[in-house]
């Protein structure tokens, strides 16, 4: 009953950039799952809302040598000094100690956007417009995720609605421990090449924990000291060097997105 009996998890992801094909199924599944509304006619890459975004990156060489990598980028779920948490004036952002998930509560948010300036991954999105769906489409919304309103910030929360579901499923059997196979975020479920692994980083046996320790693993901007829980995997050195600017400079070629 009390917290002591509940397992402390650190949910995390490992995304294999050598597998990712940039198809965008994760991005769409994410938007569908999380009731993100379609864009307005004037929407663009900087005003749109995509909790997960796939960024196309080239190694900077010219035609025909250019090599491409696709980087699915969502909230990196920073664990230490989480940049967005400390800045929020009204506690609309917090790290759940039980899951390690960085939660954003749009109902508490006042829309100051301070957290967005704090996030080095640009993983936070502001509702510049009233979220609207074409007529009738609200009947096809996911019942487990509340739509947001204009003027608030939103972001990836590892499909928390699915964690609620998994917990309810466990509770139906009288248990507080969820079955790990019941809790899989939409992007992970929808990836056609299984490039994304998800699970509890504290669980030594979990695939994700193993992958996070692989020598192909790296994290973006890890030197900021925020300990993100999303790992990226690549065997390609130019991709690994995208991790931070100091590394990127270590090679002459400039890299641009």
């Amino acid at each position: 009953m009390d917290q002591a009996t509940v397992k402390q998890s650190r949910y995390g992801m490992a995304i294999d950039l050598d597998r990712c094909t940039g198809c965008g199924a994760c991005l769409m599944a994410c938007a569908v799952e999380n009731n993100v509304s379609p864009g307005r006619p004037t929407v663009n890459e900087r005003t749109g809302t995509t909790w997960m975004r796939v960024i196309e990156v080239q190694d900077g060489r010219a035609f025909p040598a250019a090599e491409t990598a696709f980087i699915p980028m969502m909230c990196q779920q920073c664990e230490e000094e989480t940049p967005c948490v400390s800045v929020c004036p009204q506690n609309a952002v917090e790290v759940d100690p039980e899951t390690g998930i960085v939660g954003q509560i749009p109902q508490r948010c006042l829309g100051c956007r301070y957290c967005m300036t704090a996030c080095p991954y640009h993983a936070r999105y502001y509702n510049w417009w009233d979220p609207q769906w074409p007529e009738g489409m609200e009947k096809a919304l996911n019942p487990d995720v509340a739509p947001r309103m204009r003027g608030v910030v939103e972001k990836c929360n590892f499909c928390h609605g699915r964690l609620h579901d998994a917990r309810a499923k466990a509770a139906a059997k009288g248990s507080r421990e969820i079955n790990p196979t019941d809790y899989i975020p939409a992007c992970v479920e929808s990836c056609p090449v299984q490039a994304i692994t998800f699970g509890d980083l504290n669980d030594e046996a979990a695939d994700v924990a193993r992958q996070a320790k692989s020598e192909r693993a790296f994290r973006f901007l890890s030197r900021l000291g925020t300990e993100p829980k999303v790992y990226y995997l690549s065997g390609r050195s130019w991709v690994q060097r995208l991790a931070d600017r100091e590394l990127a400079r270590s090679k002459k070629e400039t890299v641009h997105g």
């Binding site: 307005r40 004037t42 663009n44 900087r46 005003t47 749109g48 960024i55 990156v57 980087i71 980028m73 000094e81 940049p83 400390s86 800045v87 929020c88 004036p89 009204q90 506690n91 609309a92 508490r108 948010c109 006042l110 829309g111 100051c112 956007r113 301070y114 967005m116 300036t117 704090a118 996030c119 080095p120 991954y121 640009h122 999105y125 502001y126 509702n127 510049w128 417009w129 009233d130 204009r150 003027g151 608030v152 901007l221 890890s222 030197r223 900021l224 000291g225 925020t226 060097r241 995208l242 991790a243 931070d244 600017r245 100091e246 590394l247 990127a248 400079r249 890299v255 641009h256 997105g257």
Partner: protein
């Protein structure tokens, strides 16, 4: 027409002239209200801010305006606590300026946040670790103090003074001025600092991030110092401007010179610490988080000249000028230096707010550009117009410059 309202012994232009002066500002005010209305009713899609440029013109100007408004607390502190009576002749003007700057900044903030109706959550569910919480609390508290400081000036109006109970009230308020000045200085100290901390704590933005001194990043202290440098210069400049516009002498030159000296001293201290801070940041803070500092200045438009301008042209230069009595005695130099001080502080706020967001963080990010929309400009001109109108009205009907009568008679 409104003669009975004007302070005894001073000359004010005829009423029609005053209306002519107010009219264009009133129109600007109307335009601003329309812009602000659009942003509130249609949402912030009316602005050119976006997910990457989440803070724009408004935050930049808020930071600048609040630094300029620091004159109110600084002069109050010097006058009432440290008893520098030279400043008595500008304190009322300083209070009005402070009130305008702070109330304007808060008004713009209310447009800037997406859910102003929920803004009170900050008071009910505060996150005490957030610089913005600190800012919000101090700003609202200090605004209350400013209103209380402004009240006795209003009560000094010729007609209002006629009501005996108000006179008593004013007198009582006056006795409390020391307390207000103390509280104001305390609050200002924190929110000026917190505004600096606002960016200094952004670990994810190594361009702005600074090491902590105690519990605050170094920008916390640099902001306090630079605000204290800008405040007196702003009072100096506005006083000079009002003198020019009203074609009257309002304060003695010694006062202005003294303000300039204050500005010069504070600026010298500020530039000293700023230079040390910059060196530490370039050589240690930034590279240790994986960001070679020279990369920030890779872009032509934002080259090292920005840093040079901020520290030397608009920092060291006016500081040295203001420290020399010879230059202070000369109106032209004094005013030019004050303008430079303000430009330097404004540039500092610009660099910290706008350049921080324009610079890429991830390796594959692009350097961004942003140009405010007319709605953003309008909303801010609302503050400027409101400021001019409030100041003009105060200047016309309230005794902003106690020395004015004396100087007028000496003519």
């Amino acid at each position: 027409m409104d003669k009975h309202l004007i302070t005894r012994g001073v000359q004010r232009s005829p009423f029609w002239k005053f209306i002519l002066w107010i009219l264009p500002w009133g129109m600007l005010l109307g335009w601003g209200l329309y812009g602000a209305y659009l942003c509130l009713a249609e949402g912030l899609n009316q602005t050119n801010m976006d997910n990457r440029f989440a803070f724009g013109l408004w935050i930049y100007l808020d930071l600048t305006v609040i630094a300029f408004g620091a004159g109110a607390f600084f002069t109050g502190f010097l006058l009432y606590i440290l008893k520098r009576h030279e400043l008595k002749s500008v304190i009322n003007s300083a209070v009005v300026l402070g009130l305008i700057c702070y109330s304007g900044a808060i008004a713009v903030l209310m447009v800037d946040v997406g859910q102003p109706l929920r803004a009170w959550f900050t008071f009910w569910h505060p996150n005490v670790h957030s610089m913005l919480t600190e800012v919000t609390f101090c700003l609202t508290c200090y605004l209350t103090v400013l209103i209380l400081e402004y009240a006795p000036i209003v009560l000094k109006n010729r007609q209002i003074r006629k009501i005996p109970s108000y006179l008593v009230f004013e007198f009582n308020l006056h006795k409390l001025m020391v307390v207000f000045a103390g509280v104001g200085a305390f609050l200002s100290f924190f929110h000026q600092g917190s505004l600096g901390g606002l960016y200094g704590v952004l670990r994810g933005r190594p361009f702005a991030f600074r090491e902590e001194l105690g519990i605050w990043p170094s920008t916390f202290f640099l902001f306090i110092l630079s605000a204290m440098a800008a405040g007196p210069s702003f009072i100096l400049l506005t006083t000079w401007l009002v003198e020019k516009l009203s074609r009257k002498r309002l304060v003695k030159h010694e006062t202005l010179s003294y303000l300039g000296k204050l500005s010069g001293i504070m600026l010298t201290v500020y530039i000293l610490f700023k230079s040390i801070d910059t060196l530490i940041w370039i050589n240690s803070t930034s590279p240790s988080s994986g960001f070679p500092a020279f990369e920030y200045y890779d872009r032509a438009a934002f080259g090292t000249w920005v840093l040079f301008a901020e520290v030397v042209v608009f920092g060291l230069l006016p500081a040295l000028l203001l420290l020399r009595k010879r230059f202070r005695e000369h109106r032209g130099w004094l005013i030019t230096s004050a303008v430079f001080v303000l430009a330097g502080v404004a540039l500092n706020r610009f660099v910290l707010t706008i350049q921080t967001l324009a610079l890429p963080t991830l390796v594959f990010d692009e350097f961004l550009s942003y140009l405010p929309s007319w709605q953003e400009v309008a909303t801010f001109s609302l503050v400027i117009a409101y400021g001019v109108v409030l100041y003009s009205v105060s200047f016309r009907y309230l005794p902003l410059f106690p020395q004015e009568r004396e100087l007028a008679q000496s003519y």
